[in-house]
Symmetry: C2
Subunit: 541 residues, 2 copies
């Protein structure tokens, strides 16, 4: 699929800078939405695939017989502490699909009850009761997870945080935000924009995902390169433990060295040892200037070389370095139909670079210097720089529409892995070779289940997204990919989950990323906090 390209001058044409006035006006009208949301809301998406029940797809997984089945007396209890609008029950013509199915439509639970409390005290009472009664519970945020971690497997009660959605406090001097777990990420960021601050992470699903959900899954997203991980930016948490106890650790101090940092355990715990109800997070000043450049390069080696150059030249203003392969762009072109691609010709690899800083002129100079050098030495073959906010959004969509485009042909198997930088793309090549060898892949032949395996991701974090776009989900494809993908990652000392987590999908594969001692200690903590194992069962470990 790779083809050679003709070297041509970089399209740095008529670089019309936004005047301060128009820039400010634009910002006032709508806060700058870098990394725009094209991620469809759960309610809106549809694919050709109707999900099967997880229980049918995975007959080896059995409902734990120690769990109580929901009974009338349980409902009576919930009705005694929750109002009608806080309780959703399955009816004959309504199977609570929105709460039982995941975003990829790969998993489908059979929950008959969704609880949507509006207060921490209600969450506490619910968990205390469920723990005593041994009723299994799945905490659920925006349900945008990609490993089946946020939907039930059998009849677990869904504890939805959707209605716990208030901003609690914001200090414009320190930049510390305190909010409920159910605040939608985009809403938190829009609120911060009004005060000149920015949420220190961003991801495609921002229009649906919850602040509590991204903390519970330790999401990485698009700006980790600039602002670091949530383990560094989250200052405090409020967590309801399985027994109903509330850990109120809503610290608003940047430094506090008194005792073990308990909150850290809940960051990335995927709802298995506690339900996050409140988050305190340090937010940085919103950058005054953004630049985005979209480049075409010859090889994966050129991607790496460009990254090292970008770190050197752009240093403190580099806020995103994303790469995409040719097939990811072809799928996206097909999906976006009439929208012209930023680059006229095709290249084996594409790079999106974002800078954000406090001085537009300085950032422009740094970016220009970098691009000139990268062009001069032949690393970058073609490229464009966004001239205004609209162009900036347009460039981002060629990265952000990839997940939806991968799924548009039917469905998608998604793998989110960490690998040493030099080995990052090897997995995509290996997956394509494997699927071709098994006779499962064809871009044209609609009788084959797989359309293509594509790769893209956050080079700065050593994080690859391998998406296998399929016409239909099939056991053959799954067998070809697993444990093959995990074995490949493990052989390169990578992680089988860079940011999506373990959930249901990767539960059995943790051994590829963690050693026995680690797994033992992880299980020890699970037993310590959730001895009845009522929280998010059949997943994680």
């Amino acid at each position: 699929m790779l083809r050679s390209t003709v070297r041509k001058p970089l399209q740095l044409v008529s670089r019309a800078r936004l005047s301060t006035a128009s820039w400010t006006a634009a910002r006032r009208a709508a806060p700058l939405q870098v990394g725009r949301v094209w991620w469809p809301k759960v309610q809106e998406y549809s694919t050709k695939i109707q999900p099967k029940l997880t229980a049918e797809s995975y007959p080896d997984v059995h409902r734990f017989s120690g769990f109580k089945k929901l009974a009338e007396d349980d409902l009576s209890f919930f009705k005694s502490i929750l109002s009608d609008s806080e309780i959703l029950q399955a009816k004959a013509d309504e199977d609570l699909a929105l709460f039982n199915e995941d975003w990829m439509r790969k998993y489908k639970g059979q929950s008959q009850l969704v609880l949507r409390p509006k207060s921490v005290s209600q969450v506490s009472q619910i968990l205390k009761y469920c723990n005593e009664q041994k009723l299994a519970v799945v905490p659920q945020g925006g349900n945008t997870g990609l490993v089946g971690g946020s939907v039930p497997v059998f009849d677990e009660i869904v504890l939805s945080l959707t209605q716990l959605n208030k901003i609690r406090d914001f200090d414009p001097v320190s930049g510390i935000l305190k909010c409920d777990a159910g605040v939608i990420l985009e809403n938190a960021d829009s609120f911060l924009a009004e005060h000149g601050y920015i949420f220190p992470m961003d991801l495609g699903a921002k229009g649906s995902c919850h602040v509590g959900g991204i903390v519970a899954t330790n999401a990485g997203g698009l700006r980790l390169l600039r602002y670091g991980s949530l383990h560094g930016t989250v200052l405090g948490l409020e967590v309801v433990l399985p027994n109903g106890e509330v850990l109120d650790s809503m610290n608003a101090l940047r430094k506090d060295n008194t005792g073990y940092d308990l909150k850290q355990m809940f960051i990335g715990s995927e709802g298995t040892i506690g339900v996050i109800t409140g988050v305190s997070i340090l937010t940085p000043p919103r950058p005054k200037a953004f630049n985005v450049s979209f480049l075409g390069v010859e090889s994966y080696e050129a991607v790496q070389k460009t990254f090292v150059q970008a770190k050197q030249e752009l240093s403190e203003i580099l806020s995103a370095f994303e790469f995409m392969d040719l097939n990811s762009q072809r799928l996206t072109k097909e999906h976006l139909k009439d929208v012209p691609h930023p680059l006229e010709e095709e290249y084996p690899f594409y790079i999106l670079i974002e800078t954000s800083g406090s001085n537009k002129e300085h950032d422009d100079v740094k970016l220009e210097t970098f691009l000139e050098k990268a062009m001069e030495d032949g690393t970058v073959l073609d490229g464009v720089v966004a001239q205004d906010e609209t162009e900036l959004r347009n460039l981002w969509q060629w990265r952000e529409m990839i997940p939806e485009s991968s799924q548009a042909g039917g469905g998608v198997y998604k793998y989110d892995v960490s690998l040493p930088l030099k080995d990052l793309y090897s997995l995509v090549e290996a997956a394509n070779a494997k699927l071709t060898e098994k006779g499962l892949l064809s871009v044209e032949d609609a009788s084959k289940p797989v359309i293509s395996a594509i790769g893209y991701g956050h080079v700065g974090d050593g994080n690859l997204h391998l998406n296998v776009a399929v016409r239909e989900y099939s056991k053959d494809v799954e067998k070809a990919l697993e444990p093959f993908v995990y074995e490949h990652v493990s052989s390169k000392n990578g992680s089988i989950s860079a940011e999506h987590g373990l959930g249901f999908q990767k539960k059995n594969y943790i051994g590829y990323s963690k050693n026995d001692q680690e797994i033992k200690m992880i299980k020890q903590l699970k037993n310590l906090y959730d001895p009845n194992a009522i929280l998010n069962p059949y997943k994680y470990v």
Copy 2:
């Protein structure tokens, strides 16, 4: 003590920039040592104070009778796994003072045995044996701690990490460093400098303190503002648990979402649940340009206003924002004797600002713009900007020499607290008032125990260092200060330990910063990992 000052033009005279050539030459000759080390090595310091045994100073603290007393068979075991140079025994004329006494000479233990293993396997064997035999152990790094956490209280065995001091691996593309816990911070940073990278934190004691020690105490230091906390930058740890099991979690991936992030619990655990033997940490590219400016302002309000302005104007290049009060500078002047102070006249408060970035010209413009604005509106009354590396070091010393200067008159009571920014300085005022009221303080009268209570610290992190400079340690002073200081901090919702930790000094005061649920969960973890409580007893919780 505060006196009015005359407004005068900022000393931005003949700003001679270093040429690239001389700058590069200077860097080659000696890696840029911003934040130079004036912290005396433990072996070199001396004060007028001879420390009393902790057991005598704190008669309420009793040796735990469940601990075994060191016997011949124990020594035989240690001799069977360690060489002669790895074992230090107390002799008649040598009481192992370097290992029994802390840097402040406030605490003195009575250990008769120091073990200095050279391998992780030896550490594991030592702990396994001690756990089985119920021999208490104090892990010790560079012994630069300030809360008595790194020295024995009674006869605990000292487990010194000094000889576990190798750099294990460095990847110049990703910037990930792996090293033994006993590597001295300055050595790690010098090593990184050779590769164009920088250790993401810095502190006064860098010439003595260990990488493992700063992780075990979750040190904050001088550059937290720029690079964030160790919870974000540490990627992996190797930890020997009390039972001798080794948690090998030396991850070199920037992202890994598979299971609870176990290493986080050991960051800031002060050697109470495991001994850190290896550290994997993400290091950023070493900035190419540093600027330092030293300013005089009228009031603490002006300090805050300058901070907000600096965040706005300097944004991504702001790497340190330190404030110091007048008395801290007077003490330092006295100690440094003939060295001229950067500012001719005295001001109630001083500020040191450091910027670090990738483009000297851009940084100069940003700093100049910021200083002009701050001068124009009268916030900053006087100031100087370092013109070369020597000046830069000279300016830093007026911040970094404060700890030593506070101690030069005899001793010092150190409090390291977090407070909301607006309340930060209130504690220093309150402490001075209290000590004066009790008739304990006089700058001139040598019959009073206290010389002065001074304040300085990291404004960017809401972190105040309150140093009470004394002529001698006295129970009266201690009683006047404690729990008064902790009550004041608690009343403002601060933390009684921002970065120094709990150690021995603050063990009994954790309740001022943590609620019952938190303390319960902290104790639960201690019991989980160290059921025999052999590690660093009498401290932390």
